[in-house]
């Protein structure tokens, strides 16, 4: 194998490039990124960086010299335009490249609101790329009323940050409760209380009808007719895996770019990692949208590109920072039928434990790092703690399994 071309210079693409080198690959590694910045971390975009608490250079995953030092040919501002799966060729903005292996690491794109809703107005922002956040930060000093569409993690983090900066923030959630898609009622309730305490208005069970304004947004009209003043709109209504290139190349798509357990797509020699990939997980296809997955998946798949035959085992976990609460989540709560609450001793601190048919499958820990760390290890080891004692904050976690 002489040349690996990686499409997408985000978390997964960057991890794959360095993992190939670390495993002794001495051929050419070309890392193509359509953005102009070198690979960077996204989590701070809706947290410390949006708040203005973190310098831009700190976001970068590797220092500038690291790519040259490792012999990785990072080409920023260079999109891959098409893939020819038979010829193993990638067409780029700078010309065609042949490859012995291609790794797709194209990530995801935010779901955009239709023009009929946005009216093409300025002042309506998404939260995905550095450029999106820079635009929000530039706008903030002239804004008073932020309306955030979508009460998922990204929307709630944006509400927390804009509130801290001094804007009036309102979250509009179409579902009956915030975080409905990802968390239990218990966790939604706790996060709602936290936001209310800090002055965020949360509207649930009501959708956005449209934005009004002249040139730039002035108000948001909701489905029930309410009109909210709005000079900063932030839309966080979910993401879709970026499958455009793979689909055009004729690769199998199944809720993302389909891969086998080793990360290979339906075309031999073409692999997919990170947000864009859908892989088998305990029998069903799964896609994960998180940094830890992007890193772990890239490492396993890089090894497989070089001939290892390792199945990927996901160890899902996630975190979110909102006001003075750190939420840490381990496992996947799919199919849960019971939630056990373990109260904590500190402000806002508590944890919610998800059980499916009596087995521990996930935990949401709010300002409860011990609960998170223990829960993560139990879930990965397939252990289930005693539920009664779990609910008793006096019971020592170390004695529960």
């Amino acid at each position: 194998m002489q040349r690996v071309v990686i499409i997408g210079a985000g978390q997964a693409g960057c991890s794959a490039a360095f993992a190939l080198r670390k495993r002794g690959f001495d051929g050419e590694i070309i890392l193509l990124g359509e953005e102009t910045d070198p690979p960077y971390q996204r989590p701070p975009l809706s947290k410390a960086y949006l708040l203005g608490d973190m310098e831009r250079a700190r976001l970068y995953l590797k220092p500038p010299g690291a790519y040259t030092d490792a012999g990785i040919d990072l080409r920023t501002g260079c999109d891959a335009i098409a893939i020819d799966a038979q010829q193993m060729r990638v067409d780029t903005a700078q010309g065609p490249l042949t490859a012995d292996a291609i790794i797709l690491a194209t990530g995801s794109k935010p779901i955009r609101l239709p023009e009929a809703v946005t009216g093409g107005l300025a002042g309506i922002h998404y939260v995905r790329d550095l450029a999106d956040i820079d635009a929000i930060r530039t706008a903030i000093p002239d804004c008073k009323n932020a309306v955030i569409i979508g009460g998922g993690y990204i929307g709630l983090e944006a509400a927390a940050v804009t509130t801290k900066i001094g804007l009036n923030a309102t979250v509009v959630e179409m579902a009956p409760r915030i975080l409905q898609r990802v968390a239990s009622r218990e966790t939604s309730d706790a996060m709602r209380a936290l936001h209310a305490h800090h002055g965020v208005t949360i509207l649930e069970n009501v959708g956005l009808a449209l934005f009004l304004g002249d040139g730039s947004v002035k108000s948001a009209v909701l489905a029930d007719g309410t009109e909210l003043p709005c000079d900063l709109a932030i839309v966080g209504v979910g993401i879709r895996p970026d499958i455009a290139l793979a689909q055009a190349a004729g690769l199998r798509i199944e809720n993302g770019i389909w891969t086998d357990a080793r990360g290979q797509t339906s075309a031999p020699g073409i692999w997919a990692v990170g947000d864009c990939a859908s892989f088998p997980h305990t029998g069903a296809p799964l896609r994960l949208e998180s940094v830890p997955h992007a890193i772990d998946h890239a490492e396993t798949v890089a090894a497989n590109v070089l001939g290892a035959r390792t199945d990927y085992t996901a160890r899902p976990w996630f975190w979110s920072d909102q006001f003075d609460v750190k939420l840490q989540i381990a496992g996947l709560n799919t199919g849960y039928d019971q939630v056990v609450t373990r109260p904590g001793g500190k402000p806002w601190s508590r944890s919610h434990w998800y059980f499916a048919a009596g087995r521990l499958v996930a935990v949401d820990a709010l300002n409860a790092p011990r609960d998170y760390m223990s829960g993560k290890r139990w879930i990965e080891a397939g252990q289930t703690p005693d539920r009664k004692r779990l609910a008793d904050p006096a019971a020592d976690l170390k004695t529960l399994v």
Partner: protein, 104 residues
């Protein structure tokens, strides 16, 4: 300042680190296997767990409450000199610091 890691295979790696950088960032920049830094230093993951060499323990300070709680259930065994390296920030007083990466 200079920092030295004892790696998982027993070899050492020494690097120059700019003041203000935390020890997880420094490890990632130097591709130190075993220090991952999944949460980017936001005290959420504990994948930056290291042991501080005995002669440096006093100088790196004590973990804060949240860090202390995270360390209580780390993958590698917690020891008296365990720290989350994203919480140790380079400055001149730490010149020569020696960290040990937990073996698997």
């Amino acid at each position: 300042m200079k920092i030295t890691w004892t790696l998982q295979d027993g070899r050492t790696h020494t690097a120059e680190v700019a003041n203000g950088t935390n020890m997880m960032e420094a490890a990632v920049a130097n591709d130190i296997t075993g220090v991952v830094g999944e949460c980017g230093g936001s005290l959420s993951c504990a994948t930056c767990h290291v042991y501080v060499a005995d002669d440096w323990v006093g100088k790196t300070g004590e973990p804060e409450d949240f860090e202390d709680a995270m360390l209580d259930a780390t993958e590698a065994e917690r020891k008296d000199n365990s720290r989350l390296s994203c919480q140790i920030v380079a400055d001149d007083s730490l010149d020569g610091l020696h960290l040990i990466v937990p073996a698997l």
